[in-house]
Structure formats: structure tokens, C-alpha cells
Amino acid sequence: MQRSRFIIGALAGLTVAANADDLFGAALAQPALPGLPGGANDRVLIVVNLQGGNDGLNTVVPHGMPAYYKYRPTLGIAPNDVLRIDATIGLNPALASLKGMFDRGQVAIVQGAGYPDPDHSHFRSTEIWQTAEPEHYGGTGWVGRFLDESDLPATNLFNAVALAPVLPEVMIGRRIDVPAIGALHAYGLSSDGDAGERATFTSLVRDDRVPFSSPYLATVATIEDHAQRGSEELPKLVAGYAPSGAYPATGLGRSLALAAQIVGSRLGTRVVYVQHGSFDTHAAQKPTQDRLLRELGDALKAFYDDLAAHGNDKRVLTMTFSEFGRRLAENGSRGTDHGEAAPMFLIGGGLKGGVYGSHPSLDRLDNGDATFTVDFRNVYATVIEKWFGRPVTGVIAGSFPAMPVILG
């Protein structure tokens, strides 16, 4: 059997590979974790989608690389302003809250995440990150497949929750239906009709024996049924949770506050999806990206403070991703165009903080773009195997060994 390897870069058709141990310098062997479904200490994953393609080079700033300043005459962050991690990289000053968490060992930075033959379309590349299937489109998301494979009871309406106005592709599976919830106060039937109306409603919304056939009929009837039952249950189920501390009054702050409430109410929820953006900064990047990064760091800090106050911080892992990074050279509009590799953050009380992988070269570029050094599927495999203690079979195709980020 071929030895598992990391693909660490696809440059001009040349694939460079290295052994995972060489790359991360630590043993991969981990004690087995209890598989899903678990007990009261169920582990949870929060997936944060940084929509629009976050500029990774102004997030984890390569201040030690001269090419960065050469190609970023106006957008480059001055060495003195960078929140230094080491002689090569540091964080954007807007990420001060996250830097504090990094210094406390709660943040792992995975540098240069990407995939081979990167697509520069927002929509296709988002699809690739959400499905983990760069070669073909199979219609399910990687979290959806993970839930399907995990023996979770389909009767639980909250195995996973998407805090989003539209169900993201990452949550689409075949067996487990994931609710999309914009805000708790809007998640409920406002009808104050009498008992007769409620009972009639329950039977009518499931009516699929109609005198026409529609390809959407079964889907509509199922969602109406779940919506009605879920909306009656969820507010009651989470009502007992009192958040600790104040969250920023931002969309992400509100989403993470609700995520903490769901996690703290122990509904058997294993994955929560939240989104933040738009990072599509083709023009006048700095004010937009700085604001979004500040909102990201501040909301994550409030989230983990709240989780810690309830003793939940060690059972919640947060992972960020974005469909692509942005081109090294800034454009003429003080913005950046679509690029390739970018860093991911893993955050939580249960991991080994630090910097993982190597920063993409800024001298050897793929048509002006920094190329990936770690395949994002290695990170997903890490979450599945090391965090959830489940095999990747049926979830991630191909050989993508886990990284030693997670504490056993």
C-alpha cells in the first residue's frame, strides 16, 4: 500500500510531496476517541465560512518576506504594525482578539491551505471547499456525508444546524436533514390560532397526496413538517441557557451567541455552520477587511469566553475557511483579485496551538498566485479522525492523513 503523503504544492505541473511526519514533526498516533453518537461530552465543530475569498496574505501577514511588500505597495501592512508571531509571519492588527487567544495556545494556524488546479470562480471554489470534491460535483457536502456516516439518529432535528438564511452546500446529505435558522426569534410559527387550527395545520402541511406530481412535492412536505416541529421545540430547548458576557452586536456575534446556546443546551448537535463576509475585496480592501477581521476576532473571543464560563470550551472546535485567498499583487483599485492558497484557523480549548505547515512561497507563483502547501482535505480529515474519532471513509475520498493539531 502506498504510503500516505501530504501534497505540499502543485507548481507548474510539478507535485511536491512530503511525509506528514516531516511536515509537522510529531507523531500522528492518537488515543482513540469515543465515536459518535457520544454522551454528555459530545464534541462539536463550528464551521465559519469567510465568504467572498478572504485575503490570506493580509490576515496572516508574511512580514519577513520581501516580495510581500514589493507586490503590496499600498496594502502591505508595515512590519511594526503586524502582531508578530515569528520572524516570518504575524497577524493583521485587526485580529488583536485572536492574537490573545493564539498566545494562550487556543489557535492553530494552518498555512497555505488549498487544493490542486484551483478554480478562481467564487461559486465553483466555494462548492469545492464545501463538498471536498474538486474533481466532480456529487451534490452532497462533506459535513452532510459525515453526519450520514456517523450513526446519528435521523429523528433528532438538530444533529447539525446552519445559522444562515439558506442551507449551505456543506450541510447537504442524504440521510440527515439540517435546519437553516437565521435567528431564533424568527424561527417559529406566529399563528395564535386555536387548537383546531394547529391540529389541522399539522395534517395539511404534510399533504403530498395531491392531484398533480411535482419533483419538489416531497421536499416541501418534509421541510414543512420539520419546520413546524423544530420551531416548536428549539426555543424551549435552549431557553435555559444564560450567556456569559456580552457578544459584539454584529451578525457573526449574534450567530455565535446562538451557537453557544445550542451547544450549551446539549441537544446532540455536532456541527454548527456560521458565515461572515463579504471578503470579496476587489477595491478599497483595507477598511472592509479590517472591519471584518476585527468582527471575526472579537466574536470568537466572546464565544470562547462564554463557552469557558459554561465549561464547554474544550468540547468546541472552530474551523474557518474561505473559497480562496487573493492574488499577491494588489490591483489598481487598492484591492486584490481572486487568488489561491490561504491560511485556515482552528480554534478551541482542545487543541495544540501554533503554526502548522509552511507559508507559500512568494517568489515562485502560479500566474501571480501563491500556491497551496497543505491540501484542505488534510484539515477536514484531522477534524473527522482526531476531533470526532471517526473514520473518513465515505466522507473524504483519497488519502489525506490527519495532522497532529488536536489534543487526544
Binding site: D119, H120, S121, H122, F123, R124, H136, G138, G139, T140, P165, V166, L167, P179, A180, I181, A186, Y187, G188, L189, S190, S191, G193, D194, G196, E197, T200, F201, S203, L204, V205, D207, D208, V210, P211, F212, S213, S214, P215, Y216, L217, T219, V220, A221, I223, E224, H226, A227, G230, S231, S278, H282, A283, N331, G332, S333, G335, D337, H338, N367
Partner: protein, 498 residues
């Protein structure tokens, strides 16, 4: 066929079961009734009032489609929204610049106050813009024109109050889309490349020779004309160079070709080499076989059913090509076609939130649109002028999740509680009994598309389940029960389908 033979890893298809008719675009000659009339009015517009449906059912297919395609002038409607402030107040540029020069301090409190006031005015104008358009959809005598305008808004999706698109930028783009709704869509694309809202939204106003900005050039091919797989990254970069210098004059807001910022060097784009400009690029694109196919697929997904068969796409693409992208004859054919009136297309689409809301307003005779409905539409997942991205709205199954379905039900509930006059859709006098009332309600709201069991349930509800003395609908709870039953009919799965 649906996915019987698909491997487990294929994406779910919402293509209707059954087979494509032999001549899908030939004129339909089958039966014509209330159900098909309502279907036509849903697809070619925003649904009909009970009276409109009855008229179309009586007129027959050809006369109904003629009336939609040869639409009356819409000059009697407001051509634009109410202006909340003049252009200077919305931009505040002169004032802000003066402040910057005076104080030189971007953190200056006076400056921040001015910015806040400006942003408040812009939000207010945006609300006026959205309300204006929704009002047109409700009141227009030319529903097809308005429906195709909504299609084009999703196709060339641009958002108000983002990327410095503000004031009347989006309204002017909307008027452009309406002008070309049944016009020539190649010419429309040339005009879109010069449209101020688009120049801002996809950054082409800043696309200059020294630093090309690829945003517009990429989406032009990926989302507006060809689709992924029909061009290369090199084509993106070369066409971005061709569009350098396409910008607008800040003072007038008019399109302006800045020759000094245009890259007039040779470019190679989709096999054509020369000093191409943006308009050359658009003409090259429209000569590609992929272009009419791309439009055909998107049109079928919006107007007919999801995941249309390749043969159907090819047939419509050939029609578009034959008419050289003049869309009036294309719509005239599609709206009379076998495929549109086949059972397979009937209720084979999910109503968009806009269709759901405007259709309900028409059904119940709501006279006009107020801004209160904007956040309601937001919870359902669609506010006009606010597409989630340049890709527009995916539609189909994407309209449906627990959140958006609850929002639809809550909208129906509030519509029935807030001042709906049951007389307007019950026709003459009150129905004699619960059975008649349930038939009347499901007939008007669902064209009878309810199961026998549901009819019985509604009847039992109207009867009061023993809370009223007998089955006669009279007395104090008459109005309340009719409204309750109408709400229940709107919550049924069939009412979510278009």
C-alpha cells in the same frame, strides 16, 4: 426521468418524472382550463387575481399569451421611486471632501456624523427603490415584462447599497433591464457593460491598463453569458484588459471610455487576436455556441422546470440563435409550448418569495405594497435589489428550508389577520356550509390541487370540530374561520409550488 439510474454520488435532480414531448416547443393544442390559465399567469407573471384567472381561462391560450407578449404601455405607473433626498445629499461628496480638507482627520466627529446621515439617507432610498419595484410587480398591466425584468435582475445580479451602488443607480439599471426585457439580449449585454451600477458593482470602473481588475470580465463569462468550462483563465485575463477604461464620469454618472487608461495592445480572446475592446469581447462571446445554450438553460430553469433535458436546452438555444437573441419571438413560442403546458411542468417549480408575496397580494386583492414587507421577504430569502451575490438567487430547493418555510407561513397568517376582506375572493354571498366553503377556498387558492383528505380536514376545521353548534357557517366566527382556513390552504405544500 428522475434519478433512478443515477449513481449515489450524483447531485439530486429536480427534473420532473416522465418523458419530454416529441416537439417540446411546438404550440400546445390540448385542453385549456382554469388550472392551465392559472399556471400560465404564474409563469409569465406573478399569478392572477381570481378574476384574471377566470378571464384567461375563458380567452383560451393564444389570446392569453398574445395579451402577455404584446403588452400595453406601462407609462401610467410611477417610472421611478420617490426621491428621499437630492443627489448631493446622497453622495455628500462635496461636503465630505471639504471636511477632510478642513480637519484632515478621518476620525473627526463631524465627519462621522455626516457619513452616518448620508448612510441613513441611502438606506431610506433603498427602501423606496425596493417598494417601488414591488409596487410595479403588483400593479403592472404588463406582467410578462415585469417578470422577465425580475429574471434579468437575477441573471445580471447587482445589489443596492453595496460597493457604492446607491441612490438611483440600481433603478436606472432596472429601467434598462425592463426596456430590453423582450428586446435583443446581446444589445442588452453591451448596455450592461456600460451601466453605472454594474461598473461599480463588479469594479470595472476601476479597471485600468496599469492594473487590470478581472471581476467584471470573469463574471461576464461565468455568470452572464457562457458558464464555466467555456473559457480559460487566460481568456479572463485578456478580456479584463479589453475592458480597461470602461468607466463612468463622476460628475454626470454617464458611461465614459477613458482611452488613456485603456490597454490597446493586442489580445487573444477565445481564438480572436487583435486590439480588442470590451464590445469586441461581447460580440465574440455571443458568437460562441455556448452563449444561446447558457441563456436557454437559465430561462428554462426559471420559466419551465429544473434541470431541463439537454435536447430541450438545445431546441430553445436554436430558437434563440435563429432569432439572433431577439427575445419577443422566443417568449411568444415558449409561452405557447407543449413543454410548458405538459403535466410535467405543472407546479414543477418552487415559488420564489417575491412570487409568493406578490401572488398572494393579487389573490386577495391587496391594493398596494408598503415597506413593511421588505424584512418579511428577507426572512423568506429574497429582497429585490438585494441578491446574495452576483450569482443571483439559486432558486428551486434553495428557497426551501425550515427558516424560509416558517417565514412563508407567518406571512400568510399575518395577511389573513391584517385586514384581508374575505368578500374580495369569495365572490358573491357566503357559502352555505363548510363543505362549500372548503371547496371554494381550495378552488380559488389552489385551483383544487388538494387531496380529498385535506378537503375533509379543512371542512372539519370550518365546521368547528364541535365548537360551533352545527355545520352552518354563520354568526360571530364566520369571518374568522374563513380566514383561518385560507391561511391553512396557503400553508399547504401545493401553494409553495409555482
Amino acid at each position: 426521468m428522475t434519478d433512478v439510474n443515477q449513481s449515489p454520488s450524483s447531485p439530486p435532480s429536480f427534473r420532473p418524472a416522465g418523458r419530454l414531448p416529441a416537439e417540446p416547443l411546438a404550440a400546445y393544442t390540448g385542453a385549456w382550463d382554469v388550472r392551465r390559465a392559472a399556471h400560465l399567469l404564474r409563469r409569465a407573471g406573478f399569478g392572477g387575481s381570481p378574476a384574471e384567472v377566470a378571464r384567461a381561462a375563458a380567452a383560451g391560450m393564444d389570446r392569453s399569451v398574445d395579451a402577455l407578449v404584446q403588452f400595453p404601455a406601462t407609462d401610467s405607473l410611477p417610472s421611478g421611486p420617490e426621491l428621499v433626498a437630492d443627489a448631493d445629499a446622497l453622495s455628500m461628496l462635496p461636503a465630505l471632501r471639504a471636511r477632510l480638507t478642513d480637519a484632515g482627520d478621518p476620525g473627526n466627529a463631524a465627519l462621522l456624523t455626516m457619513r452616518r446621515e448620508r448612510n441613513r439617507l441611502r438606506r431610506e432610498q433603498d427602501r423606496a427603490n425596493v417598494t417601488w419595484w414591488l409596487g410595479r410587480m403588483l400593479a403592472t398591466p404588463a406582467p410578462l415584462q415585469e417578470k422577465v425584468t425580475l429574471y434579468l435582475h437575477g441573471h445580471f445580479a447587482t445589489a443596492d447599497n453595496q460597493k457604492n451602488v446607491y441612490g438611483l443607480d440600481i433603478v436606472e439599471q432596472n429601467q434598462l433591464l425592463r426596456r430590453y426585457a423582450l428586446g435583443n439580449w446581446r444589445e442588452l449585454t453591451h448596455a450592461i457593460a456600460r451601466d453605472r451600477a454594474m461598473l461599480k458593482w463588479l469594479d470595472n470602473a476601476r479597471n485600468v491598463k496599469a492594473h487590470p481588475n478581472e471581476n467584471f470580465a470573469r463574471e461576464l463569462m461565468e455568470l452572464f453569458t457562457l458558464g464555466i468550462g467555456n473559457y480559460t483563465e487566460t481568456d479572463v485575463r485578456e478580456s479584463a484588459r479589453a475592458f480597461t477604461g470602461y468607466t463612468f464620469a463622476p460628475r454626470t454618472g454617464q458611461f465614459y471610455f477613458n482611452a488613456a487608461r485603456h490597454d490597446d495592445g493586442p489580445k487573444t480572446f477565445l481564438g480572436h487576436t487583435g486590439d480588442l475592446d470590451g464590445d469586441d469581447v461581447i460580440d465574440v462571446i455571443f458568437a460562441q455556441p455556448a452563449a444561446p445554450k447558457y441563456f436557454a438553460r437559465r430561462l428554462l430553469e426559471f420559466f419551465v422546470y429544473s434541470d431541463p433535458e439537454p435536447e430541450l436546452v438545445d431546441a430553445l438555444a436554436a430558437l434563440i440563435r435563429k432569432n439572433d437573441f431577439n427575445m419577443a419571438p422566443v417568449f411568444s413560442t415558449l409561452l405557447r409550448s407543449n413543454v410548458l403546458f405538459s403535466d410535467r411542468a405543472y407546479r414543477a417549480l418552487v415559488k420564489s418569495p417575491i412570487e409568493f408575496v406578490i401572488g398572494s397580494y393579487k389573490l386577495f386583492g391587496v391594493p398596494d405594497v408598503t415597506p413593511d414587507v421588505i424584512p418579511v421577504l428577507g426572512r423568506m430569502g429574497q429582497i429585490p435589489f438585494h441578491p446574495p451575490s452576483v450569482k443571483g438567487w439559486d432558486g428551486g430547493a434553495q428557497w426551501l428550508n425550515t427558516q424560509t418555510v416558517l417565514a412563508r407561513e407567518n406571512f400568510a397568517s399575518s395577511l389573513m389577520t391584517a385586514g384581508m376582506q374575505s368578500k374580495s375572493f369569495l365572490g358573491g354571498g357566503p357559502p352555505a356550509n363548510a363543505r362549500d366553503a372548503s371547496l371554494l377556498l381550495t378552488g380559488t387558492i389552489l385551483q383544487g390541487d388538494a387531496s380529498a383528505a385535506s378537503l375533509q380536514n379543512l371542512e372539519a376545521y370550518l365546521d368547528g370540530h364541535g365548537t360551533s353548534a352545527n355545520g352552518t357557517l354563520s354568526g360571530e366566527n364566520y369571518e374568522e374561520r374563513i380566514r383561518g382556513a385560507a391561511y391553512l390552504a396557503m400553508a399547504m405544500p401545493a401553494y409553495q409550488l409555482g
